[in-house]
């Protein structure tokens, strides 16, 4: 199983029937592959739809229906179109159960940096700052390290996306929960030892007596 797949399958278990969820572009988008059609989970895309569906069959694309990355998508039965003000009203107003976002860094305060690398990458924050500030739960889905360097750090060196603490960090090695007492190691990826996680993390981790292996969504 690839690192991405481990992350996506584990995140899928965090999403509950009957709720509204926003998946960021890239790795988070792939979480939807592990959500059954009858799950009762609705996906929001911040460019204006509640009830986004999978990519359409070849040749059936609607040029007026894309995700926030501009890729063609479909709509599930019961979908609703929303304009940009209502789309972010859903986000900011606490109507979104969860957002799943990629991360460049997360630190011991649970702060996320994921929108800019000054001098190197200036994409703009798009909807990320609203999502992290407004969603009821913020789940960071990212590889544990980037080119061997830890991404879970004592203090973010990159500009923050929000000063709000994220809810959960899911990586290919671990599930970590930021709290006001620091970062708690909650789960290990299958076959991964605690020492391996600690070695790949520059932030200080709080390690309970029992750290189970993560369950993965089918």
């Amino acid at each position: 199983m690839s690192p991405e797949e481990i992350i996506q399958r584990r995140v899928a278990r965090e999403l509950h029937a009957g709720t509204l969820v926003n998946l960021g572009i890239g790795l988070p988008t792939g979480v939807s592959r592990y959500i059954p059609h009858n799950s009762g989970i609705l996906f929001q895309s911040e460019n204006g739809i509640v009830g986004m569906g999978s990519p359409p069959p070849e040749g059936m694309e609607d040029i007026d229906l894309t995700d926030a990355g501009g890729s063609f998508v479909s709509a599930v039965p019961g979908a609703a179109t929303v304009d940009s003000t209502l789309s972010f009203g859903l986000v900011r107003g606490g109507h979104l159960d969860a957002t799943v976002l990629g991360g460049l860094e997360v630190d011991e305060d649970g702060h996320l940096a994921n929108w800019v690398v000054p001098g190197r990458m200036v994409p703009g924050m798009g909807g990320a700052m609203d999502l992290v500030s407004g969603a009821r739960r913020v789940i960071v889905a990212m590889q544990h390290t980037a080119r061997g360097r830890p991404k879970i750090v004592p203090k973010c060196t990159l500009p923050l996306t929000s000063t709000r603490r994220v809810t959960l960090i899911v990586t290919d090695l671990a599930v970590i929960e930021p709290t006001d007492k620091g970062l708690f190691l909650r789960e290990r990826a299958p076959g991964v030892e605690i020492a391996e996680i600690v070695a790949a993390t520059s932030a200080s981790l709080r390690i309970p007596d029992y750290v189970p292996e993560m369950g993965l969504h089918d």
Binding site: G48, D83, V122, P123, G134, T163
Partner: protein, 218 residues
């Protein structure tokens, strides 16, 4: 009955140095024919208020490539390296605004409100130099309203009186921009007689629309 104009006539109304709101999200739901006419006329020194600058040489990206834009107030430029390059070399002043904040600032401009109070961006570099207002012991980031000389919007359908409908995620910023432009020019895909759109399906009332781009006019 609204005045129908060709894309060229619309572009001729827009002087160098104008402040433009342009609908669309990565080019989906953008007024492409007006954009093409602006490029043909070689307009310069434009300020663009929009969600993004699309991709290189597509949608608003065409205005970027031809050097028509000297300032952009946008939430995202990640998929247009030409805008990023312009930002870094200083040829385009880019204000990056969180997407939900951008939508609300445009709405505040069009709805006669003095600005907005949001948590989004608070404590991040996106809030630098901006006013924080304390209300009942809680900090809120203040962001001022946005207005434009022209709002250039896409619609799915117009009737002769300027009533507009939108389709799916091509809706995005178009309806809110129709409230905030001093002059509003709509580029519909279809044009129908008055009465074809039921009152409950009109998304933008014709009282907000000044000009309609004529069908097929080249």
């Amino acid at each position: 009955m609204k005045k129908g104009v060709t894309p060229q006539q619309a572009a001729e109304m827009i002087p160098d140095g104008a402040i433009l709101m342009i609908g669309g999200f990565m080019g989906v739901g953008s007024p492409h024919r007006i954009i093409d006419a602006l490029v043909d006329l070689g307009r310069k020194n434009l300020t663009i208020i929009a969600n993004d600058t699309a991709r290189p040489n597509y949608g608003i990206g065409k205005l970027i490539r031809t050097g028509a834009v000297t300032r952009a107030i946008v939430s995202h430029i990640g998929l247009n390296p030409e805008t990023q390059k312009g930002m870094i070399d200083g040829s385009i002043a880019v204000d990056l605004v969180p997407q939900g904040t951008l939508a609300e600032r445009i709405r505040a401009g069009g709805f006669g409100l003095g600005g907005i109070l949001t948590k989004t961006g608070l404590g991040t570099i996106a809030a630098e130099g901006q006013r924080v207002i304390e209300i009942d012991g809680e900090d809120w980031l203040y962001a001022p309203p946005l207005k434009a000389d022209f709002a250039l919007i896409h619609a799915d359908r117009a009737d002769y009186s300027g009533n507009l409908t939108y389709q799916l995620t091509a809706t995005n910023f178009n309806p809110v921009m129709a409230m905030a432009g001093e002059t509003v020019i709509a580029e519909p895909r279809e044009i129908s007689p008055v009465g074809v759109i039921p009152p409950d399906h009109v998304s933008t009332s014709g009282v907000l629309v000044d000009y309609i781009i004529l069908r097929g006019a080249a």
